[in-house]
């Protein structure tokens, strides 16, 4: 690229009109232009699907991993992908790498305080008996993994 060609980017940006929810609003999945590969496209309600493929000794391997996550009984769909080594990434925190889906959700709760206000008293927001939370986390989050 030459300097004269770069000058075209002094123009005003032209973003397509897009839905921006009002403060505090939830626009689930609204940022994805192409949502293929995750559960919403695959008919897996509130779920996520990560697909790993490989070949070994001439055999084609396909591993689909689906997550159904709720926090306080409400679905959470953070676009998770599983890497070949089993580690996890999420577009909710795109530079982080996690060893488990539980860790993903815990960190999302920490990183999105407007959605998940921290209850330092450990009160359960799920409406269920907090004593059923054996790990002592007061947010009632859980994951179901189907591989």
């Amino acid at each position: 690229m030459k300097a004269s060609e770069a000058d075209q980017f002094k123009q005003a940006p032209r973003l397509p009109d897009m839905p921006l929810a009002a403060p505090g609003g939830h626009a689930h999945g609204g940022g994805a232009e192409q949502g293929g590969g995750h559960g919403e496209a695959g008919g897996h309600e509130h779920g996520l699907e990560s697909i790993r493929t490989a070949t070994h000794c001439g055999h084609e391997i396909v591993i689909k991993t689906c997550y159904e996550i709720t926090v306080d009984g409400k679905p959470l769909a953070p676009h998770m992908s599983v890497n070949d080594d089993g580690s996890l990434n999420t577009h909710a925190l795109p530079e982080y790498t996690f060893s488990s889906a539980v860790d993903v959700v815990k960190k999302i709760i920490d990183a999105y305080p407007d959605e998940y206000p921290c209850d330092e008293q450990g009160h359960d927001h799920s409406g269920k008996d907090s004593s059923s939370d054996q790990q002592g986390h007061g947010h009632g989050g859980h994951t179901h993994e189907h591989t």
């Binding site: 005003a12 032209r14 403060p23 949502g35 577009h91 530079e95």
Partner: protein, 312 residues
């Protein structure tokens, strides 16, 4: 004539121009209905590009990250923002500064937090919200720096009106050290199959920070700064550009060190790599034909760096 990008901690002039430009772009309304600014447009552009999966059949590699296009797309973003700075500052000599974070990374964890980058004269400090420096939040002052666009945990974008957030050193204690970035720049190959996040021996994947021990390099800086640098709307924090300018400088050093190593993948690779091959267009938010990846390989008439020697 090419402008010269310099270390923000070594040039008060570059630092002050950068701060002034940020505030001007933040005040320049680009969307009257949403009251979002030109600065915010870059936030949205980054997020939209990140959520454009390539190919659409998977949800990992996208038009800006987790694949070969990571470095060219962010170079394009930096060039575009630099031109916007030049416009609002009416200064054709303006060049984005960089933060040589690996030099801070050689310090103890405690001293990293005390870097002059976080002084009130520079980027301000840590906090929810940031309360010092030029981007501090003042509830009584509607003209103080406000974050306007954020993504939620499930992928939607929302409007907001709050202060900038940083949690320096909380999610990870230390920045990348010089030895790590030198090791990345020493790698010979640009990228390789699976063209995603698995490779431990290619410059793109290691400089992006997926290897050898994630989070590394670029990713580690995002995680270390935390707060608004964590989600896909990370360009909200002006530090985003200081980080990426240093990552781009790493790429410039790598290009100089390995002149015989081509950008990969080549155009002959299958359509499943659309958006990442040499002649594929970059995702743009400007009218007109978007630049191609190959347009980003030689930008020597657009900008240069004052030095590349610290990368070995």
């Amino acid at each position: 004539m090419a402008v010269t990008r310099t270390n923000i901690l070594k040039s008060n002039v570059a630092r002050d121009k950068f701060i002034k430009g940020v505030l001007l772009l933040k005040k320049e309304i680009a969307n009257a209905a949403q009251q979002t600014s030109t600065w915010d447009s870059f936030v949205i552009w980054h997020y939209q590009t990140m959520m454009n999966f390539t190919p659409a059949s998977q949800s990992s590699r996208n038009s800006a990250h987790r694949g070969p296009v990571f470095l060219p797309w962010h170079r394009f973003m930096l060039i575009a923002l630099e031109r916007q700075f030049q416009r609002v500052l009416n200064d054709a000599t303006f060049a984005l500064p960089y933060w040589a974070w690996h030099q801070d990374g050689d310090l103890t964890a405690a001293k990293q937090l005390q870097s002059p980058l976080w002084a009130k004269e520079c980027m301000g400090g840590t906090g929810i919200p940031v309360s010092t420096g030029p981007f501090a939040f003042k509830a009584s002052d509607p003209n103080s720096f406000r974050v306007r666009v954020i993504n939620n945990s499930s992928g939607g974008l929302s409007l907001t009106n709050r202060g900038l957030r940083r949690t320096l050193g909380q999610d990870i204690a230390t920045l990348p050290a010089t030895a790590k970035v030198k090791a990345a720049v020493a790698l010979t190959k640009y990228d390789e199959s699976d063209w995603n996040v698995a490779s431990t021996t290619t410059f793109r994947n290691v400089s992006e920070g997926w290897a050898p021990s994630p989070p590394a390099s670029h990713n580690r800086v995002h995680v270390w700064v935390g707060g608004d640098m964590s989600p896909g709307t990370s360009p909200n924090d002006p530090v985003f550009y200081l980080n990426h300018c240093n990552v781009d400088r790493m790429w410039a050093a790598w290009q100089k060190k390995h002149p015989g190593s081509p950008y990969l993948p080549a155009d002959s690779e299958p359509a499943s790599l659309l958006g990442h091959r040499l002649s594929d267009p970059l995702k743009s938010m400007f009218s007109g034909a978007p630049p191609k990846i190959k347009d980003m390989l030689n930008v020597s008439t657009v900008y240069t760096y004052d030095t590349l020697t610290d990368f070995g």
